[in-house]
């Protein structure tokens, strides 16, 4: 029972162009969403987050959009750089006090020089 889904296992983008990574969720109790980035042989690192009271959050080249009615969020990277090549995980947490993160299966982004 996957509550957080990343349906694209991989994405290839030319350097300088926009990368769009998508994530869908099923649990309407989720109220906080995050993106983590993971390089090989390293742990995931926090990238950007968004609360359910917002529909957009921007941090430099990274923007996360949230569409609550569609239960969909996306991560935009503009412009994409070769160093952005990594696996990106979408995660969500709910309104209980445990702050348990539910992760998607990840999307591998390759930014071609």
């Amino acid at each position: 029972d996957q509550q957080v889904k990343q349906n694209s296992p991989s994405l290839s983008v030319q350097e300088g162009r926009i990368s769009i990574l998508n994530c869908d969720y099923t649990n309407s109790m989720f109220d906080y969403f995050l993106w983590y980035k993971k390089y090989p042989a390293e742990g995931p690192t926090f990238l950007i987050s968004i609360s359910s009271i917002k529909d957009k959050n921007e941090d430099g080249r990274f923007t996360v959009f949230l569409n609550k009615s569609a239960k969909h969020l996306s991560l935009h990277i503009v412009p994409s750089q070769p160093g952005d090549s990594a696996v990106y995980f979408c995660a969500a947490s709910g309104r209980d006090s445990s702050y348990k993160l539910i992760f998607g299966s990840g999307t591998r982004l390759l930014v071609r020089p």
């Binding site: 906080y32 995050l34 983590y36 042989a41 390293e42 742990g43 995931p44 690192t45 926090f46 987050s49 696996v87 995980f89 947490s93 445990s98 702050y99 348990k100 993160l101 992760f103 299966s105 990840g106």
Partner: protein, 114 residues
């Protein structure tokens, strides 16, 4: 000045053995976690401790036992290892409360059970 460290990085062992993975964080965080990344690459939470108290305990076999001697350490003991325990195990830490959403992960321990 590693924030979240795990030892060992690689662990190869035989079925039936008992092993431990250690985790330490120097961020001053109150909450620590163990996650398992399986062969399908899903990261799933196993346990969470806040100030040495267990607050999340997912459906994990009782062969897995976390131990938190202090709030900077959360170790994972696994008894009677099985082939299906082979995975990458990640430790993480965070602030308490709302800050718990932003978790800092260690580099992972790749466990291979033969």
């Amino acid at each position: 000045d590693t924030a979240v460290s795990q030892t060992p990085k690689y662990l190869v062992t035989q079925m039936g053995n008992d092993k431990s993975i250690k985790c330490e964080q120097n961020l001053g965080h109150d909450t620590m976690y163990w996650y398992k990344q399986d062969s399908k690459k899903f990261l799933k939470i196993m346990f969470s401790y806040n100030n040495k108290e267990l607050i999340i305990n997912e459906t994990v076999p009782n062969r897995f036992s976390p131990k938190s001697p202090d709030k900077a350490h959360l170790n994972l003991h696994i008894n009677s290892l099985e082939l299906g325990d082979s995975a990458v195990y990640f430790c993480a830490s965070s602030k308490a409360g709302q800050g718990a959403n932003e978790q800092y992960f260690g580099p992972g321990t790749r466990l291979t059970v033969t």
